[in-house]
Symmetry: C2
Subunit: 216 residues, 2 copies
DNA sequence: GTCTATAGCCTGATAGAC
DNA sequence: GTCTATCAGGCTATAGAC
C-alpha cells in the first residue's frame, strides 16, 4: 500500500557510511498529512485547496499538481489510514476496538476525520461514499466474526443463523458496535467531558455478547 | 414555537363561511422546508443559497431577506424539528425511540439532515455546534431517566449512582443508545439493505437494560 | 413585506514556466 | 518533478427598488 515513495533525500549519503537523516520527506506525503488535518478540523466541503496550500507556503495549484483534483486528494487521505491501523483477527479484535476507542480520545484529529467524513459521505454523490460503504461492509463482517468467536460454542450456531432478511444476530451486533463507536465520537467531539468512549464501548460489547449468550 | 405566522391567505374567505383553503403558506416556511431538504441531501457547507433559491425560482438574496444570513437559516431549520417531535416521558420513551428509528427509515430526508449536520457540527466553529451540544446533553438526561424508569426499583439506586467521574451507569447507557441510533443512521444511509435500524436499536436497549439489572 | 441587481471575495482547475 | 500565474465561475451579503 506504500504510497510513500522516497525521494533522493533518502538515499544513503555519499560522504559517509551513516544513514541519511531524511531531512525532508516526499512533498506528496507532506501534503497528505496537512490535508488530513484540515479535512478533520473543517470537513471536506469546508476546506479549500488554498487552506491546505497556505499551511505549506505554496499556491493551491501546487497542491493540485500532486493529486490532480481535490477529490483525488480526499481519496488518498482516506487510504493513508490503512497503513497505520492493523487489526487483529478473532475475538481479540473486540478488545482491540476498546483500545482503539481509548486511543481515539488522545487523537482528536483522526477521530474527527472519520467521524465527520463518514457522515458527510452520506450526502448525495459525495466522493467518499463508496469508500465508506465498503469500509462499513468489511467492518461488519470482521466484527461479526469476532463476536462469534467470543461466544460459547453452543451459542454460536444461533448467532450465525441468518433470519428471513439475510442478517445474522452476530452481524446485527457488529453493526451496533460500529454504530456506538461512531456515534460516541460525535458526542465526544462536541463535549469531551460528557462521555467516556472506551468505557461505553466496552459496556455495549459486553451487553451484546451477554445477550447473544442468554438467548436459549 | 410557532414560527408559522399565517399570511393574509389564511384569513377566512370573505365570500363564504367555508374555511380558507390555504393555497399558499408563508414564504418563510416554504424556504425553511426547501432549505431543510437541501441541507439534508447535500450537507450545510455544500449547499449554496443559490441552490435553495433556484428551487423556489427566486434569487439568493430573496432567501437572505427572510433570514439575514445562511447561518441563521440553518438555525431556523434545526429549530423547526422541535414542533414535530413530541417525546413522551418515563420508560415509554424507550419504546418511542424504537418507533422513531422505524419512522426514520421512511423519512430519509430528515434522517440525513440530523445525521449529516450533527457530525458536521463537530468541525471547528461550526454554527450548529452549540445547538447539537445542548441537544445531546438534554437527550442524555432524558433517556437516562427513561432507562432508570424501566429498571426494577432495587436496581435503580446503583444505576443512578455517579462514579468518581460524575457519570452514572444510566447516563452512560443513554449515551450509548443515542450513539447507536446516530451511528446506525450513517450506515443505513450509505447502505439501506445492510441494517435494520429499529431492530438493532431495540436490541441494544434491551441488552443495556438487562445488563443494568444483572449487576448485583 | 418581498425581492433583484450588484459587489467583492473565494473557489477548483487549466496551461505552462522552470 | 515541482510549482506559479491566471481564469472563469460560484459564493455570501449589502444596498436599495418596488
Amino acid at each position: 500500500m506504500s504510497e510513500t515513495t522516497p525521494t533522493a533525500d533518502t538515499r544513503p549519503a555519499e560522504d559517509g557510511g551513516a544513514p541519511a537523516p531524511r531531512r525532508r520527506v516526499n512533498r506528496r506525503e507532506q501534503i497528505l498529512r496537512t490535508a488530513a488535518d484540515a479535512f478533520a478540523t473543517q470537513g471536506f466541503n469546508n476546506t479549500s485547496l488554498a487552506d491546505i496550500a497556505a499551511m505549506l507556503d505554496i499556491t493551491p495549484a501546487g497542491v493540485l499538481h500532486h493529486f490532480g483534483s481535490k477529490t483525488a486528494l480526499l481519496t488518498a487521505v482516506l487510504e493513508l489510514r490503512d497503513d497505520t491501523d492493523p487489526a487483529p483477527e478473532g475475538s481479540r479484535m473486540l478488545d482491540h476496538l476498546v483500545a482503539t476507542a481509548e486511543r481515539n480520545a488522545e487523537r482528536p484529529g483522526t477521530t474527527q476525520l472519520y467521524a465527520v467524513l463518514s457522515a458527510e459521505s452520506a450526502t448525495d454523490r459525495h466522493p467518499a461514499q463508496e469508500w465508506f460503504r465498503d469500509r462499513f461492509t468489511v467492518l461488519r463482517q470482521e466484527i461479526g466474526d469476532a463476536v462469534l468467536d467470543r461466544l460459547d460454542p453452543r451459542d454460536r450456531a444461533a448467532a450465525a443463523t441468518p433470519g428471513p432478511d439475510g442478517r445474522t444476530p452476530a452481524g446485527e451486533a457488529a453493526a451496533a458496535i460500529i454504530a456506538v463507536m461512531d456515534g460516541l465520537q460525535v458526542q465526544w467531539l462536541l463535549d469531551p467531558e460528557a462521555v467516556d468512549m472506551a468505557a461505553v464501548t466496552e459496556t455495549v460489547i459486553d451487553a451484546l455478547v451477554a445477550r447473544l449468550s442468554d438467548q436459549g
